[in-house]
Subunit: 155 residues, 2 copies
């Protein structure tokens, strides 16, 4: 079954290239042996740099299941998730990740996956995008408002 779902994702990724919708990436999300969502890279077609295949599939699965966490679901993605997508997978509480090509493959074909993995591991001062701290004390008020709120929906 793993090969069945991944073969479907690979087919979607190739179709995505030929149809000019975006990069060569696709993902499907499976629950209880059935596909609950598909996603392909739509960055350039939709002017959304976050529209990676895994993010699109996660958003679609949550819409379809009417939830904001995907407990018990697996994701089949044609490429190892980039840090953005792996972060999304953790926030979504997906149970397991099946991936085909590697971040090194993506980088070999011109995508920034490895660069971003390296950047996240650096201290602020060594990153290519400057990170500037300001007003931490003032901003803690937002966390305190959250902490004191009764009946909040945690995630």
């Amino acid at each position: 079954m793993d090969q069945h779902f991944m073969a479907h994702a690979i087919q979607l990724a190739i179709e995505n290239v030929h149809s000019n919708r975006g990069g060569p990436f696709a993902a499907v999300i499976v629950k209880d042996g059935s596909i609950v969502a598909e996603g392909t890279n739509q960055v350039t077609a939709t002017n959304d740099p976050t529209a990676h295949a895994e993010v699109m599939a996660i958003r679609e699965a949550c819409r379809n299941l009417n939830v904001f966490q995907l407990h018990g679901c697996g994701i089949y993605t044609t490429c190892e998730p980039c840090p953005m997508c792996l972060g999304a997978i953790y926030w979504a509480h997906i149970a397991r990740v099946h991936f085909a090509t590697l971040a090194t493959d993506a980088s070999a074909f011109g995508f920034d996956d490895l660069l971003i993995y390296r950047e996240l591991a650096q201290p602020y001062s060594a990153r290519r995008i400057p990170m500037i701290g300001v007003m931490r004390e003032e901003a803690l008020a937002a966390f305190r408002a959250w902490d004191e709120k009764p009946n909040k929906v945690t995630y």
Copy 2:
């Protein structure tokens, strides 16, 4: 001016808590001294685990500017971006990040930011979410289709 934009983001984050729309996070994106987009955490209100403040602000800025990369823009976010959002910031080619509270503050108030940073730094085998490789050779066909495509829109 930095304090002006961050103070506005902090106000949005506090309003977001009181209005029940989501977590205590907000971000604004600035270009040429003007705000071009605002975003707040909408995870629970919209059933979208990727609807963090920075992601929402990036999507809105790209819509407003009709682009898929935010060269020359700065982002003011009330909390150090989580790996998903920092990945999104790199993919969006944002020029600089102004942040207020730290990932350690977010974790102290119950959010998974630090956990996810630690997980991304681990080898596959040591992660909490199992990562299973399958069909790499077959999936390289998607990258080859991309490589061979004339007039593709790179990002």
